[in-house]
């Protein structure tokens, strides 16, 4: 008995490692395949782009990636990049702060059935009307005044926050709240430990949506009614027929916004909500 048991252990341990190794090897191979194809994707797309500029279309009409890279340094040398980024980011920051609070208040107000009926169409319009409409209207009414773009951005983004806030309030854990009330937990502590931790992820999602739409509207509104910022530089480049500068401006800001949205905001979201596994994976 004892002998056979030891024999079994001896045979089973090397077997297990091999299957594990096989799994690891398969995963490694999978990983390698994925990365090779991913790199290939970059090479092919960038290569096609570089090849197309000068052959399919004139280089002035379609500057290749290398030209865009050079133009980036030209723009840095001119020193207009920092100024434009600062102007646009300030505008986004102010507008999103306003829109966040406005949207949150609206989301709280719509808990009342009558007010929900009242604001229903406002939120539908806010969600579906393209930012272009608000941009053109504010451009005509307010001209180049500094608050025109802000109003356009707020009108395009507020509904996203209110929808998220309303959803968060709707899904508040009623039993936990009831229990807290039954055990005499104070209003402050109830808000501090139940309501706010529950609402935080919804607020965060609202903020992220707000930003991802907000930066696009900001650039658009700067094209029509502003004399500083990325959109303004893009308009100048377009009127002067400088395709390389136009592409460089939009790509720089695109990459920056993607970085903020997908890396910075996502990082904070995952970090704050690590304790909630269902959200942290998103």
């Amino acid at each position: 008995m004892g002998v056979s048991a030891t024999i079994e252990v001896e045979t089973s341990t090397p077997q297990r490692t091999t299957s594990e190794e096989r799994a690891i090897r398969a995963r490694r191979k999978d990983f390698a395949v994925r990365w090779i194809w991913r790199l290939l994707g970059y090479v092919v797309v960038l290569g096609l782009w570089e090849w197309a500029s000068g052959t399919v279309l004139e280089e002035n009409l379609l500057p290749g990636p290398s030209r865009v890279f050079e133009t980036t340094f030209d723009l840095i040398d001119q020193g207009s990049i920092v100024e434009s980024f600062r102007a646009t980011l300030t505008r986004i920051g102010i507008a999103i702060t306003i829109s966040f609070f406005l949207g949150a208040i609206l989301g709280i107000l719509t808990q009342n059935a009558w007010l929900r009926g009242f604001f229903k169409d406002a939120i539908t319009i806010g969600l579906t009307a393209p930012g272009l409409i608000w941009v053109l209207i504010t451009a005509i009414v307010f001209g180049n005044r500094w608050y025109g773009p802000l109003i356009a951005i707020v009108l395009t983004t507020f509904a996203l926050v209110s929808v998220n806030v309303a959803e968060g309030i709707g899904s508040l854990p009623k039993d936990t709240l009831d229990m807290a009330r039954a055990f005499g937990v104070s209003l402050f502590n109830r808000n501090r430990h139940i309501v706010i931790p529950h609402l935080a992820p919804f607020l965060f999602t609202g903020l992220r949506f707000c930003f991802s739409i907000g930066w696009k509207v900001t650039v658009l509104t700067e094209i029509f009614s502003s004399s500083s910022g990325i959109g303004f530089e893009m308009r100048i480049a377009q009127t002067l027929f400088r395709q390389d500068e136009l592409i460089t401006w939009i790509l720089l800001f695109f990459l920056f916004a993607l970085f903020l949205e997908k890396v910075v905001l996502q990082f904070f979201e995952n970090r704050f909500f690590r304790w909630r596994k269902d959200i942290a994976t998103a």
């Binding site: 009926g117 393209p130 395009t156 509207v217 695109f254």
Partner: protein
């Protein structure tokens, strides 16, 4: 004063039993919804007055609701200052949208199928599709306007580029969610390949294709208007710009309303009945709504790109 206090005392008791019809009507959410447009109208008029009083605005810059209504009516009855009337304008735009939409659906379905079936193809396209998903239509509009000038190609390509990532993502998701057991079973029972595609792959893919079409349509429509605005010589976007350049706010608002009305019409009157018809055989699911919810998180952020 004394007469007023008497009913106030009785009013709470009356509430608990049966409020009068008027009170109940005023307190109903439906009435609130009905009230909203009127509130907007009042807010609009007061806003006009305030802006004119507090700043030294030229009153012709601002539009009154009356002017907007007159403008829209004149457009509908074919009495317009713009080069094309509203029917022709939207006809031109819809034709571009149709062509671009068809190409986007075709190419997007091919790439989406490939990405759903093969990990290598998925890795190849993934980052670029995500980049396209987040790229604002504005970038395409400006870029294409410099390349193609003012003809049909620019706006059409803008529709394709704006719509195609949504088609790809939806189709890929559809392929991934096809029931593997059914494929294995049809393989085990020697069902011919064409029959498997017809009876297993297509029915499970169909809701996703429908969702893809919806997204591609609504986002392509918004992309098209911006592309026409910067690189067109006719169409809805261009006409909006025409009124903008003429500094006629009522024209801009009126055209925006036509634009929103048409989008809502197509969504609710054309697409909604089709989806109800197509998904009649699936009693549990109510069509693309369910499909959209499954990966709402990804698409919600992404469809933000379409707000422009």
């Amino acid at each position: 004063m004394t007469t007023h206090t008497a009913p106030r005392k009785t009013s709470p008791r009356r509430h608990t039993t049966q409020a009068p019809l008027i009170v109940r009507f005023v307190k109903s959410p439906k009435f609130a919804r009905f009230l909203f447009p009127w509130a907007v109208l009042v807010f609009w008029l007061i806003g006009n007055k305030l802006i004119q009083d507090s700043w030294d605005f030229d009153s012709s810059v601002l539009a009154t609701p009356r002017e907007v209504w007159d403008f829209m009516w004149a457009e509908i009855t074919n009495d317009t200052v713009a080069p094309d009337n509203v029917y022709r304008t939207f006809g031109i735009s819809l034709r571009r949208l149709g062509v671009g939409f068809a190409i986007a659906m075709f190419l997007g379905t091919l790439i989406g199928l490939g990405m759903g079936l093969s990990k290598a193809i998925n890795a190849f396209f993934h980052d670029w599709v995500m980049a396209l998903l987040a790229m604002p239509a504005l970038a395409w509009a400006l870029f294409l306007s410099l390349i193609f000038g003012f003809d049909n190609r620019g706006p059409t390509i803008a529709v394709i580029l704006a719509g195609i990532p949504f088609v790809i993502v939806n189709i890929r998701e559809g392929v991934r969610s096809t029931p593997r057991e059914l494929f294995d079973m049809s393989g085990a029972f020697n069902v011919p390949r064409a029959k498997t595609v017809r009876h297993v792959l297509l029915p499970s893919l169909f809701p996703f294709m429908f969702a893809a079409a919806r997204y591609a349509f609504s986002i392509g429509w918004k992309g098209l208007v911006i592309a026409e605005l910067f690189g067109g010589q006719d169409g809805a976007g261009w006409t909006m710009k025409f009124w903008y350049d003429a500094h006629r706010l009522h024209g801009v608002i009126g055209y925006s309303m036509f634009f929103v009305i048409l989008a809502l019409f197509i969504e609710n009157v054309v697409l909604e009945p089709i989806s109800r018809r197509v998904f009649k055989w699936r009693p549990a699911l109510t069509g693309p709504d369910v499909v959209e919810e499954e990966f709402q998180h990804e698409l919600d952020v992404a469809s933000g790109a379409g707000t422009l």
